[in-house]
Symmetry: C2
Subunit: 352 residues, 2 copies
Amino acid sequence: MANKENNISINPNAQVIFNRKKSAPISVGDLMIGIEKGDRYILSKAITLVESNQIEDQSIANQLIDFCINKKPESLRIGITGTPGVGKSTFIDTLGTQIINENHKLAVLAIDPSSNISRGSILGDKTRMERLSMNLNAYIRPTPSADNLGGVARKTRETMILCEAAGFDTIIIETVGVGQSETAVYQLTDVFLLILQPGAGDELQGIKRGIMEMADILAINKADGERLSMAKFAKAAYTSALHLFQPKTSNWIPKVLTCSSTEENGILDIWNTIQSFQNLTIANNYKINKRNHQKLYWFEETFQNKLLNFYLENKEIADYKEELEMKILADTVTPFLAVDKLLQKIIDKYQK
Amino acid sequence: MANKENNISINPNAQVIFNRKKSAPISVGDLMIGIEKGDRYILSKAITLVESNQIEDQSIANQLIDFCINKKPESLRIGITGTPGVGKSTFIDTLGTQIINENHKLAVLAIDPSSNISRGSILGDKTRMERLSMNLNAYIRPTPSADNLGGVARKTRETMILCEAAGFDTIIIETVGVGQSETAVYQLTDVFLLILQPGAGDELQGIKRGIMEMADILAINKADGERLSMAKFAKAAYTSALHLFQPKTSNWIPKVLTCSSTEENGILDIWNTIQSFQNLTIANNYKINKRNHQKLYWFEETFQNKLLNFYLENKEIADYKEELEMKILADTVTPFLAVDKLLQKIIDKYQK
């Protein structure tokens, strides 16, 4: 089994040793076979390799990813965002159960850069998705740890690819919306849901810039009891606001729906709407184009970040950049002249 | 006169020779004196130097910019955008006349990257601002030519600095909204106006993503005659949509106003609103913080672009990047592994 891209040949008998003492070594070949069979234990082991920062683990992880990508499984990737308190967990628990009841296998992943500090602020406690966590057709995995959003996104993307190869045909990636995490989720998924809650006046405010325009479906959750009329009002307000935006390149007209996760009202409607989106975008090739665009997005983003960091990790360059920033703020150099100076410094220091 | 930042000493007697045969050479010192006096002829000559791509001209332009920045003149920078047909020229002509009547001096600049192809699609014909073009307290300058938006933004920013040093205390920068030009205008100005026109249903749609959220003031133009009731409807729709967004860091609540440039209705109201914004953001330090942030924005943006282009202008690197993109699309390499490969290529080729 030769892998030209990585310039390494895969030895299916290579033994992978996991840190936990009770784990017996598993060969790469066994990992591949296990993933193909949809073995949850093996899948978890493989994801641990993807998340590892050890060079040896990464080399094996790259082989696994290569193997999984080439299986080209069909899948639907759903992105879900919403501020804390809108009831995302219960929503995902209810929607996920609906999805599984229609004979799908579901993996729920999360991107939550804040959890690097307070580990496990999202999905750490599996019990917050009570029904899914007890269902063998659901696989829940907390946010991977990494020192930047790019790293989290990479690990989430590769975990998703492993899950798809293991037979999970539906993926939900959720985020609480810290920093640029919604953009990361948007660039990892096929369809993007924004969960809102009913509220009048001030409570309606506060959607982060750009989020509403990314959403394919707006779900107003907690549309039950006394909040029902507020939810209807919110639906009208958001529907009218969405009319102001440019039509989407997907030709999809964003939908605003109300639901109640606790009363399990409207969830089927949302699932049907997700499927309508899926059908439209498969038919008009938007889905495949978007996925290709996403691959190039991650290539471009990661390349630019890594190239910049390559230089800025050098203390002399970083210090000089900071010195220039001070001068720019003091108006003793213009931003554009400062760029010429910084580039000259880099060229003098590094170039052949 | 020594200029440490540029490592060149300024010789005020150096002669600048302009291309037009009838121009007599002007010394750098005379350019500085002329700008300080607000001499329009000298200002135009100085801007021509800023726009020039000749190395000698750029060196003199840098000295001029340095000189002008250090004068630290007070100014108000207004950004204006709107799709073609909303009546931007007449709006600026009317608003500008109002501004000049209150004893200000006004410079009108434009960012229109499309004009590199069809030169002069904006502001090329000064007669489209009839009153301003005949007023000695107004200075109108068409879009500078450059091969990318970054270049246009740099030249516009430096032209603005020259104009401010020449006593133009109010600057309007307009754009027709091609590509990322609104973001460029937003990052060059203190207050951002979006000009709209009344229209029902479909006509209300079509605002480019993110633009509405950047605007401090939405002006619904052409609110006259039969369109008056449509304008009022549009005002209500936009006001309600703006409520959905996060409050601005400026603490300014975006205003939606109607006006008629031809009937000169509502323009004074808009000018007063601009001044309210100005007063608020001076008092709460938002204006100075935003200007500092803008300087660092242009430093960062230009640095990243130039660093990337430094490598991608090399055919071997550019070809390899394209090859990797093909492989990414064919799923024979992941985006993240492709980045490692591209960086390795750059390091092998360039680094000491």
